[in-house]
Symmetry: C2
Subunit: 193 residues, 2 copies
Amino acid sequence: MPWEKSFEESDVVEQAMEVFWQKGYAATSISDITDATGIKRGSLYNAFDGKHDLFVRGLLKYGSDRRTSKLRMLETVDDPREAIGMFFDSLVKATLNDPDKKGCLLFNTALEYPSHDDDVKKLVNDGIKEVVTFFEGRISHGKESGIIPDSVETRPAARALIALVVGIRVLGRGAFGKTALQQVAQQAIDLIS
Amino acid sequence: MPWEKSFEESDVVEQAMEVFWQKGYAATSISDITDATGIKRGSLYNAFDGKHDLFVRGLLKYGSDRRTSKLRMLETVDDPREAIGMFFDSLVKATLNDPDKKGCLLFNTALEYPSHDDDVKKLVNDGIKEVVTFFEGRISHGKESGIIPDSVETRPAARALIALVVGIRVLGRGAFGKTALQQVAQQAIDLIS
DNA sequence: CACCGTTTTGACCAATCAGTCAAAATGATG
DNA sequence: CATCATTTTGACTGATTGGTCAAAACGGTG
């Protein structure tokens, strides 16, 4: 049916994103993507602007599908510390459950810095900021309701939490096993207790 | 003087390492290295086995020049918490002072995972382990001398500290500025107080 | 000054890179 | 069934990749 595309763009973006996730941007070739999607070279360039465009779309999809939706869900949890605890739990679980040990696309991208344009860096920073804001919101909410002690400083604690998230994601790629990751997650909770 | 090399191998390794550090392994070409060192292509292959070999040597040099020597120095500091504080201080300083925002070669490499062989992964893990061991040593020493409270669990705390180190190094590449990094470093110290 | 072992040099290789493009294929529309 | 807008296809581009190699350059040695 050549008068309309034979594939769903978002499917291709999703599959391409997973290749980028696994191999990194610089190490991923267009051929890798055509192999993974089955889409022929020309069709891909007919639908997208190129490698960079495809990557940006993948990054956006990653953000909304995995990060934003999860944060919205956790914001409905009453106990703020439990919400943060659940965040770290699922983080550790996701890290352990991934046989490819891909880590987090956002942080992987942050470390491929010079390969990327400013628009990509902004996407990464915005994604990180989104999580920090979530932490800040939960912490200040917890302090208001007396669940989290006033001695916890909201912004510094939130920033330390995201730093621990990064640490878990990076170290989970090989250096740390289950026990170590869980211990770090526990220390994160202790930080706001 | 063609019967002996006209360049110092370790100089070339150092310069090549800095290119890898800045651009990442996958994104660095042999031409980048010959440009940076002035060494011609053939000479480089005469002295080294290839890109991978050069990278491994750079990683080793990075470890001994920057990590190991610093840890040995800090182990001579009497107060263990001050030693750890100094570690984080110089970490934040190094991060802020680097105009290229290259981060840490060790962690950058950890996130370029699938581009690397097992020997590189082992080098990364050993480097990380070395820092964790340093933290554990300092914490347990501090607990013995009563400077660090017994309520601090040595291994989990040490692992949380290295996670924060990773966080500082990664977030320092763009997402976090001076204040944020210093706050995270302070939270690290609070963790063992 | 001829010889020798080593280093230097730049041309060269096949493979792969991101991206282009014209021709073929397609099915709705009249 | 012819036309049409669109997609599909794979061959193609020039550039770059990591790596090779034979010849030239060199200075110590006899």
